[in-house]
Amino acid sequence: MSFEQKQSPFWWTRNPQTVVYFLRELTGVFIALYVMIFLTLAMTDATLNFSRGIFFKTISWIGLIAAVIHTLTWFWVTVKITPVLLPKWMQLFLFLLLVVAWLIGSYFLLIFLYV
Amino acid sequence: MEVFESDILIAGGGAAGLRAALAAAENYPQLKISLVSKVYPVRSHTVSAEGGIAGVMRDYDSFKQHCFDTIRGSDYLADQDAVEFFVKEAPREIIQMEHWGCPWSREEDGKIAVRAFGGMSVKRTVFAADKTGFYMLHTLFERTLKYPNIKRFDEWFATKLLRTNGGVTGLTALDLRGGKMAAFKAKTIILATGGAGKIYSFTTNGNIKTGDGMALAYDIGVPLKDMEFVQFHPTGLPRTGILITEGARGEGGYLLNNKGERFMKDYLPSKMELGPRDIISRSIMSEIKAGRGFTGPYGPYVHLDIRHLGQKIIDEKLPLVREVSKDFAGVDPVYEPIPVTPVAHYFMGGVSTNLHGETEIPGLFAAGETACVSINGANRLGSNSLAECLVFGRAAGLKAAEYCDQVDLPNLNPNELEDEEKNLDQLLHQEGNERVAQVREALQNNMQEHAGIERTGEGLKKALENHEKIAECFGRISLHDHSKLFNTEFTSLLELKNMLTVAESVLMAALHRQESRGSHLRTDFPTRNDEKFLKHTFITRGASGMITQEKPVTITQWQPMERKY
């Protein structure tokens, strides 16, 4: 008779990386929340007047922060799972490269879509 | 007691065992095949083979050349009919492995690549980076999953072979995870349990290589052949004995003494680092003796330098060398030379078989390092052993399958089974003041000291005396763990019993052979003596201990001559 091991419900606290993983997954909830609120409000108010209100501003900030955390942690994971283990400085370099590419991409999106 | 029935029972899940299982399963789907192994097959020691597998793969190479290299390497003790069969079959097996998906390293055009190896006159060693054995073992194992007629018994420890006068009938084994003994009834049994490097204290071999198959076969009267020939690999890491592949030299690595000289120029200028293993190991020992070695906390060593190959080639062709050097010697071979020293590696001898793997007992077969066909004679060439596992694994599998047609499933003697159960139970509860580890260590040290690279008659006699005392201690070993379930202390006791048998046979055979040939160097008889000793040594179980006999060597085309390079 062997002993069945049960996985602890707090397994994700064992390791700082999995805590980060869960935080990242959690940011998805806030991003989704932002999108849903925006869509619901936009459906009822085509002039987007609500976007000047303090409520929507708060929601937007939360959404933005969540999206930034999500993106950055994702980039960090990406440089960690390369087929060959990269030295720390190269990981950092790749990470910065991704961030720069992201910022440039966002800038052009902003220019062409909104401004 | 549970009894399992099978047509073919294979003991051992390494390259030879798996190849035998596949040969039988593929060609005879109606046969019931049981694969009994004391570890999961992928843990078998084939996994640690690194350098490659030899076979005639190129136009510049020839059948005759590979035969001659093998025979010259064996110091003319190999049976030449077996060598011819082996050399003919080896390329076929390499291609078969490729068809099964083994990721051999490739040339730019997509053909299988070859590298140089010690004692081979041309490049003929096929490889998969420097994890050849690992890739082969996993390919073979994964292939067995395709055949439903192969039933695996993982982590079952074989304790005894059963026979009648008519032939082999089965074996008893301990189910480690179930904690029970069971019996296997089989028409044929193939032993593929590997070598016995663990009888030495300093060895490349893993923990599982305790000569179980050799001892089991000896116990039921099968002779062991050429047991005095133990190969010492020139390049093992100090302390752990972990293997650094010959492929490192095949790719162009240098052996250096403490003056930074490639000292092989003084011993074997025509071949330098690519000589056969026995000669290189002896050369390293004499460098060390002459004070030209390095001294370290774990004994003297020389340097293996592959820095000039550059990081790209090292990472591509020798990644494991880099990995283990970093992990186990704290040295990165891209920037520093690797400390190496000769280490016990391989048993040329083993259970005596013909070239179909048949032993003297009908229905009992052996293949791989356990067996001695013999193609390796007094010294094996690097990269012949993986090919040997495949060629003779397949041969044994096919022959065993054929044999199944001729016999009925035998009956087991219930009394014998009961006796074995009692015997095991008695060992489990045996009382005394000795511990397994102490006795094992005594055995290993005794072998290392007296039956190493250099041997003398006096030393061997002393070793046999010591051995007798050690064997007595065995009867006084008591265990801490008396449980039946996964009792690894108990299995190490059973392994120790097997090691005692194998070690004694090595000592007996080494004492008998009063000459120096291949890996067997008797400083009191420093030359080869074909007149008296161009013979195989056979060790058989007699009423009062081991009996030593001689049998002639089969010579076909290559007359023995001086072994010159």
């Binding site: 799972i81 087929p83 | 843990r43 490739r106 511990r435």
Partner: protein, 251 residues
Amino acid sequence: MATDGTQVLTVQRYHQEKSEPFFQSYELRFHEDLTVLDALQQIKDEQDGSLTFRWSCRMGICGSCSAVVNGKPILMCQTYLKNIPSPVRVTPLRNFPIIKDLVVDIDDAVNKMSDVLPYTDHAEEKPLEDGEYQQTPKQRQKIDQTSQCIKCMLCYSACPVYGLDKNFIGPAAGALAYRYISDNRDESKAKRMDALIGEKGVWKCSFVGECSAVCPKRVDPALALQRLKLMGAGRLAQKVLSNLTEKSHEL
């Protein structure tokens, strides 16, 4: 801890006759070159013969000596005591039933590897006399990483999804499937893909990435699983389409 001396090692024990797992501490002779595996052997040889663990090659290639040390799944033969902060605590692999002390039953994972049909099949087998199938170094490169798996099962121990749901095919089996699917010589990809996109298949992976983090051979099963998801989606779409066209023919 650079000097020799003694050190305490705590091991989780389980002997079925003593019911629940418990911890036991041993004092051992420490030196610089001692691995966790060496330490356990020292204990077994000198103090407690009943301490049970698997090991063989002691060079990180046979995959026997997996365990969890201070919370991290590792191969004990490669892990030096000097590199681990004290106190050192050795526990068996997670997510598998414990048989005895550090020995766990990995049959479930082995069977899952069997489920992905890990062998090359050719539509028509070429006779051996005709030689090898061609594979350029570049094509071989594609299977290089995933074929490094030594089946040590550290990834199953690290995978929280497998921890919750034993139906999940798991990291190493996924990597193994990917190894054969990405082999240019294999011609049975569809069959294998179908084994992976079923209920037990790759979809359950939520890309925690722990499997790749603990892999001692850097196989990166997480990456293999993500790639399989992509291929699996393609395969599903293909199946739906072929079903649709069949239906429309019937109409």
